[in-house]
Amino acid sequence: MSLSASPAVELDATGLHYQELNARLATLAAAGSRRLVVRNVLGQRFIGTGLPGEVELELHGTPGEDLGAFLDGPTLRVFGNAQNAAGNTMSSGLIIIHGAAGDIVGHSMRGGQIWVQGSAGYRVGIHMKACPNGGPAVIVGGSAGDFLGEYMAGGVLIVLGLANGDNGRLVGNWLGTGMHGGAIYVRGEFPGYRIGRGAGQAPCDDGDRALLRAYLGPYCAEFGLDLEQVLASPFTKLAPLTARPYGRLYAGSVGEL
């Protein structure tokens, strides 16, 4: 997943409002630049939003909220921490964060992947969906906060607990609440009370291990991790108990006296 061989265009984001920065990125992309390196990023929002699919962005600093919102194709590589809502409603592409991420990483995303080296905040992967042509994935190297995978309707969430600074707490509470699709893999164990209504533990079989290997190979390569060592620990799998969590909430239909 290294940047392609085409020459990079460098940009200094110092003092730039997000609208100006994003306009410059769009102009460069429209002019044919495929590799863009942005230095001194400081809180600018919506970076990557609306850019064409072939573009690779390297961001140094701290991008702002909604990094790669509605992202459809580009690769965003951040050297720093991301704020909230990275990959919000993204369709395809790759967001790599060499650092930590805030809340709602990958909210409602339906394709592409997000790799976080460190930990992520609350509601990671909330309402992720599996698009007809392929599911999304979020991989968190550290720990994840409450409501991980809430309302999850498809895709894959992986929490590795590698850079775990939160007193050994891998995941928060209300894990997978209302989950009705997809799968959550947590490397290690956690108390059962953290699991929310709608999700349940499922055995991690050979198919799951193959899936983990496929997702974690490129992730480990990016962050210089030993794949075999990461895979050597047991994973806990969470899956939806039903695809219709609220199917019996309502009274019967017309004619059922």
Partner: protein
């Protein structure tokens, strides 16, 4: 468990019946079946959708209310008691389709319009130009006009994106899922023919309808169904759905049975899976968060189109609308408590939210007081039944109105309220291909187009009678409204005087 419920309706077949079986084929609720040469009714299944009555070739069918006597009780109406029995038998939340049907006062029916007499002559719309063109989009606080060296004037102020509508009526949001693709085809084509917009709702836009993008407002709701780059790019405008008048404060569940291959592809979810729209947006817990989504959508569409916010009419609607305007919304749709729905908990539909008339007046007042009314186009929706409601809404401060229920009625809806069953006999709120095929697209476009044209013509008639030659001059012109039978507090909120006051 034995049911204590009685059928709501009785289906009666007279001797005029020729035994053709048409009624049986038309009834999608299985309330009729052939028994020998005659149709036989299962009354309990009848929803009084009138389909069999309309299509019986000999007029042999009638549907009556089941008038089983019970002691009069104004406090415990039969319908309420039936709901209690149904809940006792199921333990479930009761669902309902269409809008709130309880007898709350309709303020429209207490408002009357002024008309010109003698000293302020009326205008004949048949021979005088009557301007009803409406622009949807944020307006600048002031315009700068510059003169070139050759003396030509040009606008220096850069205008925010504007959409030109030939009439101040748009078709309100009805999602693919709530209605079927045939209905979406009708709404899109009718909007195009009438020079106005339709709103595809929160269930995505079928690819076949992408060519109608310039007529389409696309929604971004809490489920984010079908929201992707191309969806946003092809639209005329984007609306963030924060609330819906029929079910303020709650989300929606499209049951897996309705998620057909077509719906799944458009919503971008697996076939047969429940489509859950959570109550809040997961990324919006404040006005600042709302501003962030408005900003993200403007960025995603390169600042080329209006981005709006739809909110339900609730107690603090004025403050919320002010927040939405300050969050960068170019338009705000206010959906009143009479607004329709494909499915909502009946208790929510019937008891939550406030009337659009009061919400609209309160919002218009607040935005004026804060000096930001120009920043947003105000769209009133939720129970606009006729052109008179529209004219009154504009006089109360709306820029335009959105119609949903009225549009469906033009296509055959009889307000039987069984939308949530997915068995709509008129082919509107169903995904059953055989039922959906009952909506003939060309005929539907003609019916809805006729309705829009009729309302526009009536609007011009009323403007002429008011002595006004442009709908803009009516906007927020509450002086042209008078009220009958409203209390002082309501009059103060509406900013309308009692009829008889000079």
């Amino acid at each position: 468990m034995r049911s204590y419920l009685l059928p709501d309706f009785l289906v009666q077949v007279s001797d005029a019946c020729i035994g053709c079986g048409r009624c049986v084929r038309e009834c999608s609720f299985s309330a009729l079946e052939m028994s020998g040469k005659r149709p036989k009714a299962n009354h309990a299944r009848c929803v009084a959708c009138r389909r069999c009555v309309v299509f019986c070739p000999t007029g042999a069918i009638s549907v009556q209310r089941n008038q089983v006597a019970s002691r009069d009780n104004a406090y415990w109406p039969v319908a309420l008691r039936s709901d209690l029995l149904r809940q006792a038998q199921t333990g479930g939340i009761l669902l309902a389709g269409a809008g709130n049907d309880l007898a709350y006062p309709s303020i429209w029916d207490h408002l009357l319009l002024d008309a010109s007499q003698v000293t302020n002559p009326s205008i004949d719309p048949l021979r005088e130009p009557m301007e009803v063109t409406t622009f949807l989009g944020s307006k600048p606080a002031a315009l700068r006009v510059a003169e070139s060296a050759t003396g030509e004037l040009h606008l220096e102020t850069e205008l925010p994106p504007q959409l030109r509508l030939d009439t101040p009526i748009i078709i309100g949001a009805m999602s693919l899922g709530a209605v079927n693709l045939n209905v979406h085809r009708i709404l899109a084509r009718a909007a195009q023919a009438a020079g106005t917009l339709w709103n595809c709702g929160e269930g995505g836009l079928h690819e076949e309808l992408y060519p109608f993008g310039p007529q389409t407002i696309v929604q971004v709701a809490s489920g984010r169904f079908g929201v992707h780059r191309h969806y946003l790019e092809q639209a005329a405008a984007v609306e963030i759905k924060m609330g819906q008048g029929a079910k303020p404060g709650i989300g929606g569940h499209l049951p897996g049975e309705k998620v057909t291959a077509e719906i799944a592809a458009t919503r971008m979810i697996p076939e047969g899976a429940d489509a859950l729209s959570p109550a809040p947006h997961h990324d919006i817990y404040s006005i600042e968060d709302l501003a962030q989504l408005v900003g993200a959508l403007k960025q995603a569409t390169n600042y080329s189109k209006p981005v709006g916010v739809k909110i339900a009419a609730v107690h603090h609607v004025a403050a919320i609308a002010s927040g939405a305007a300050r969050a960068g919304a170019d338009f705000i749709t206010i959906d009143g408590f009479r607004g329709g729905t494909g499915a909502a908990p009946k208790v929510v539909r019937n008891h939550m939210g406030i009337p659009i008339e009061l919400a609209l007046a309160a919002v218009d007042d607040r935005l004026r007081q804060e000096g930001i009314r120009n920043q947003v186009t105000l769209i009133a929706s939720g129970g606009i039944r006729c052109s008179a409601d529209m004219v009154k809404a504009i006089a109360l401060g709306a820029d335009l109105v959105a119609i949903g229920t009225a549009a469906l009625i033009s296509l055959g809806c009889t307000l039987c309220q069984a939308c949530y069953t997915g068995r709509c006999a008129w082919g509107l709120t169903t995904q059953d291909p055989a039922l959906a095929a009952r909506q003939n697209v060309e005929e539907g476009v003609e019916r809805l187009g006729n309705l829009l044209n009729a309302w526009s013509a009536e609007l011009k008639e009323m403007l002429g009678a008011l002595g006004i030659n442009a709908v803009e001059s009516l906007r927020g012109n509450r002086e042209r409204l008078r009220a009958v039978g409203l209390d002082g507090e309501t009059l103060a909120i509406l900013g309308v005087q009692a009829a008889g006051r000079e």
